[in-house]
Symmetry: C2
Subunit: 419 residues, 2 copies
Amino acid sequence: MNTLLLLSAPGTGHDSGAVPTVLLALAFAIVCAKLAGELVERLGQPAVLGELIVGILAGNAALFGGPELSRLASSETLTVMAELGAVLLLFHVGLESTPKEMIAVGGRAALVAIVGVVAPMLLGFGVGGLLRPRDPWMFHAFLGAMLAATSVGITARVLKDADALRAPFARIILGAAVIDDVLGLLVLAVVSGIITAAATGTAVSAASLFSIVAKALAFLIGALVVGSLISPRLFRGALALRSRGVVLALSLGFCFLLSYLALLAGLAPIVGAFAAGLVLEDVHFEDHVQRGEPPLHESLEPLTAFLVPVFFIRMGMLVDLRSFASASVLGFAALLTLAAILGKLACGVVAPKGISGLTIGLGMMPRGEVGLIFAGIGAQLVLAGRPVIDSGTYAAAVFMVVATTVLTPPLLLWSIRRK
Amino acid sequence: MNTLLLLSAPGTGHDSGAVPTVLLALAFAIVCAKLAGELVERLGQPAVLGELIVGILAGNAALFGGPELSRLASSETLTVMAELGAVLLLFHVGLESTPKEMIAVGGRAALVAIVGVVAPMLLGFGVGGLLRPRDPWMFHAFLGAMLAATSVGITARVLKDADALRAPFARIILGAAVIDDVLGLLVLAVVSGIITAAATGTAVSAASLFSIVAKALAFLIGALVVGSLISPRLFRGALALRSRGVVLALSLGFCFLLSYLALLAGLAPIVGAFAAGLVLEDVHFEDHVQRGEPPLHESLEPLTAFLVPVFFIRMGMLVDLRSFASASVLGFAALLTLAAILGKLACGVVAPKGISGLTIGLGMMPRGEVGLIFAGIGAQLVLAGRPVIDSGTYAAAVFMVVATTVLTPPLLLWSIRRK
């Protein structure tokens, strides 16, 4: 077969020319992600940082005389695969908690979460007003929203590496980070809704605002309540199926369906994936596991190992290093990072007696994938002919995410061991 | 967020509108594949048949008053994901054998394989000449090539379900099926090369033919020899890496890289994936597994469970049921199926003493995914303004694949237990 033939074989359709590119990109991504992850882990940093750096280097290879790869990041297939990676990651994170556990850590976690959303929002709003006074106030509000969400994944990973997952402060941090995530996504929905309404010329009516929040809450509550009722029955009924892999197939189907329904409800697909993870509990599959099925978290591991790095490398590739080459961007990045750190340290004020406020605050600090997802959404939002997150702001946001991600592990570890 | 925003969020790029479609399609595919697989398995048939049927029903839903889904099958993302499914499946099949095992079953398996390639080719060529006398001889040769390859996956699966994997006849069948696959792909490369040369108006020179075969052989031998030398060293060196998932990451990287190199060498990516599977052996990762890494075949299971059904469902979706609605297509399908069955039963003639020739022949019978991949490639090849495999021939090929796949399990089981 010659090359002409092969670029259009063996799938069909006009576009299977994507196959060789995707194969090479995946081979590169999966090996480099592992090597870079190993390297940064040896330096005491989380693996996700290595993946971001691989992406940043790949996306900017042309600056160092390498090939021009940045267009790859916006190919349809890699965009969708990265999105599936984010969905699977948030599904996995959701699996680590249950709706009950969220209620059990209760009031205190909610208090920490609310402070952890309000304080960074106010500070982010202030940074926007200070450095970009001529931008509409909605841009400043979006900046604040971007600082609101804690990354449950990174937080949990650091606590696990520190062997502190069952300590009282860890349960508060995790509970608050979970609530914080949902609150942050609600804030994002409201702010994005206001901006979209403004962009399409419609007035921001209290009714449309209410409808956005009501739809999102209806989805979340509906998913949690209906899901919690259906899920045990579903898996009990599935015991009638004898073939292997039933738990994985039904769980993935459930995760993808809720991700799709979240989209319909006006939320991001990851919210649906996270809700799906919260609802599913190990106890639902206990009988399946006893029959020889692998536990769900074990069968998810290879899937996340395959797709999650695609997400982080692609995110890194979207960073244009040339945009850092301006003093105003660097100043912006430094102030935004400061706001992000101080905003979360403020959580410490409402820590219960006997638990270090500093440890709580540091635990809430990492932004990780959620911050990047918010920045990506902002880059898509257009108001007054400009994207809400322009390339300079995007670069500053990535700086903020990288900085909070890098600083958390050593500082949190130090704070835990201080006593 | 409103719908407009979300269809272009949260990735970036112009085309992330594919995300909701893919999420819904995957939720549907993964659950229906499992349910249909369970159903046909209860009827004593392999699960792959259920997935094909789901695909055929989905692709032809409009005929029964359902939605028009057939365009979905040619979306870029689902095409690439299906292709990744085929790559992972052949990688997995390759892992079940080693280059050494292929040499050990040696001469007899090779003899069986050669008869199993030559006989169906001659019969397929004859069917083409009989029913389509006005087509160029190259079309007939492609028909023959399409009948040549045995599906290692289905064969192995049936032998495993019959608990006969270690019987002498099973080793001959598996060895022959492996050689057969490679021979079949070489035949396909030669026939496709001849057709492409004819289509582009260049003469079919012995030199270009030689170059096709030489490139393919160079890739195969190079991949096996260099791969066998590098692979143990690679994984021994990788023991220096401490993070989890090293075996999976390196193996997938190796598989995707060889798939890409196979494309460069003029072969289908699945040939590279199969070679990668042959080269990798459990013994290379033994130290990793002792350190707590999951064995490779275990971590591949969720990946194939996720992506392989996408491949078979998509293949089913490409079947246009309306094309069966002609007596000539049905006659063609019946004759093609007869040629496919008789061609492989001919293998029995060279069975060694004491082993049932009928069992060997029946074991070589299933065509499965490889026959469909060949048909798909033929649908892409254009000669004299017509595709080599038109929709009627494609329908007949699917009929042949479905028939050989359906008939093998009960007949092979009966032949094994006959004694």
